[in-house]
Amino acid sequence: MTYELSAEHEAFRKSVREFAEAEIAPHAAEWDRKHHFPSDVVQKMGSLGLMGLTAPEEYGGAGLSGEDGGFTSLCLAIEEIGRVDQSMGITLEAAVGLGINPILTFGTEEQKQAWLPDLVAGRTLAGFGLTEPGAGSDAGATKTKAELVDGPDGQEWVVNGSKQFITNSGADITSLVTVTARTGTRADGRAEISTIIVPSDTPGFIAEPAYDKLGWHASDTHPLTFTDARVPEANLLGERGRGFAQFLATLDDGRVAIAALAVGCIQACLDMSLQYAGERTTFGVPIGAKQGVAFQIADLEVMLRASRLLTYQAAAMKDAGRPMKEFKQAAAVAKLYATESAVTATRIATQVFGGYGFMEEYPVARFYRDAKVLEIGEGTSEVQRMLIARGKGLPVE
């Protein structure tokens, strides 16, 4: 048995690669330098159907079945975009995984009709407001509050609190953020967490100035504050009190998608290193003739293949509808291995480039800065190790 992608997946990879090289690659360095979020190019990704790969046709999506490999195609798109620009890769990943999926999975028909067509077409973006200054993967520690009160047109949620590190939350094309908030106290004394849709134009909702990040400069990431932000009761997303569980359900897909972004990063490192090792000469020979360089590039090839296989395998499990427990484990393994490999790969690539690797005029420096966050976002490496160990039956805290 061999493992390979379908001819359609390969054709799609080619299509996204052509798009990425024509529309994104020539500008990536400038967007990075200027911390510019290119809304128009994000909308072009939407026109190519990249945001709608896993959405049903009735909302403008591709309407693919698991058999067609819809989730795998999304991972391929993220990988190929990420190969030229990690910022645009995470923008796509977050647009689908954090923007569209919660509404698609838990929204009422009215909510879906209201928001999905624009999100799926990539005309607008949605952010997912989970992380807070004191709460990340420990979502139960959420402090943001939402209270149901009487309003002029019926009951309203009044949201107060703050969120941080929220991707796609403050762009000019952001239409909403879904936020997790405490909506009461459960019988066992723990916080009741629910999810609420807050449209961008809601008075009292402010996307604060964008972060000054180490990498992902062209990705739109903001702290958010909510001061008596009022939205209709009907903006509750999914079931009241199920906000945390709902959030957990969206995480596994995101892990595989981040792994795909890491694969794109490793591929970029290999491509850049190979080219440079053939061009740059020292002592009269290309540096690729030196074992010190050649062996490191061999290691990149190994990391790339291993990461790619783990990622595609996890994606294929999702498409095939394999049991959740099995998929969760595969997602955690792929995320952990691919992202840690990506960080190593950028270290190797900058080393191959020597002094030039430290200069911003070569993209390798940008990838070096962009890679680190892959080990942090959507569950740190530590969280993945914990999940994997638990999956093996160890009682890890």
Binding site: E8, A11, F12, S47, L64, G70, A77
Partner: protein, 261 residues
């Protein structure tokens, strides 16, 4: 309405291109793709279809070796409705006249109001097939359109020349070629790629078209490539050093000698 788009499968310009022993382009042993200039033709046909918003059908037609199905398939992935691939060993080595004969006979078998071509192929690059097609089909031909609109039976075509911009009106049926300024071609979406799997592609031979094998191919060509040589590698440029104020004159003399000025 029915639109036929003629597309060519050409060697990938970024890959290693070579010639056969008889000095024809090797179209089988190299990586090929849908000619980029023909992508503009597919795009214009699809835009017309989108605007018509009726049951307009776009058929993509290619004459070429087995692999040329890839070019047809790519056009279907972009959104064309069905494909026709004319393949026959006797066609190998055909010149533009013979190619236009095969295309014209194939088009006659396909319902067509508008025939759209690219401005030239990216390999042969002659750019004469569209005009030959209009002659062979006996319908008006307008070449090098950069903006196209169709209203009822009337086609409006803008042609951008060096000295003027002309807008030409023609009536269907009509043969049209479009330039690389007509609008960027769309990328195939995954949905389009999946949908293309189910779209019909017919394969025709010369006998299906009633074309005599002796009237096409290298033997019937009006011109023959005698020999080919790879372009010599780029040589180092000439450096003009200005020490006594004669630099400007030396530059001007150089440019004049190369007929740049």
């Amino acid at each position: 309405m029915n639109i036929v788009v003629c597309v060519k499968y050409v060697p990938d310009a970024t890959a290693d291109r070579k010639f056969e022993d008889d000095n024809t382009v090797d179209r089988v042993g190299v990586d090929g793709l849908l000619s980029e200039l023909d992508e503009y033709a597919v795009e214009q046909a699809l835009q017309i279809k989108d605007k018509q918003a009726d049951d307009t059908e776009v058929t993509v037609l290619s004459v070429g070796p087995e692999n040329a199905t890839d070019a047809v398939r790519k056009a279907l992935q972009m959104g064309a409705d069905k494909g026709v691939h004319v393949v026959d060993d006797a066609i190998a080595g055909s010149d533009a006249l013979a190619t236009s004969l095969v295309l014209a006979e194939a088009i006659k078998k396909i319902p067509h109001d508008l025939v759209v071509c690219g401005m030239a192929s990216t390999d042969g690059g002659m750019g004469v097939v569209p005009a030959m097609l209009s002659e062979r089909l006996g319908v008006p031909g307008v070449t090098l359109g950069s903006e196209i609109s169709v209203e009822g039976e009337t086609v409006k075509i803008r042609r951008d020349g060096d000295a003027s911009t002309d807008t030409i009106e023609g009536s269907l049926p009509l043969v049209l070629s479009v330039t690389d300024q007509s609008g960027e071609a769309r990328y195939p979406s995954f949905k389009g790629i999946m949908a293309a799997k189910k779209k019909p592609v017919e394969t025709w031979s010369l006998s299906d078209l009633g074309v005599d094998a002796g009237s096409v191919g290298a033997g019937a060509a009006w011109s023959v490539v005698e020999s080919t040589d790879a372009r010599p590698p780029r040589t180092a440029g000439e450096i003009v050093t200005d020490e006594d104020g004669s630099g400007a004159k030396a530059l001007v003399d150089f440019l004049a000698s190369k007929k740049f000025i």
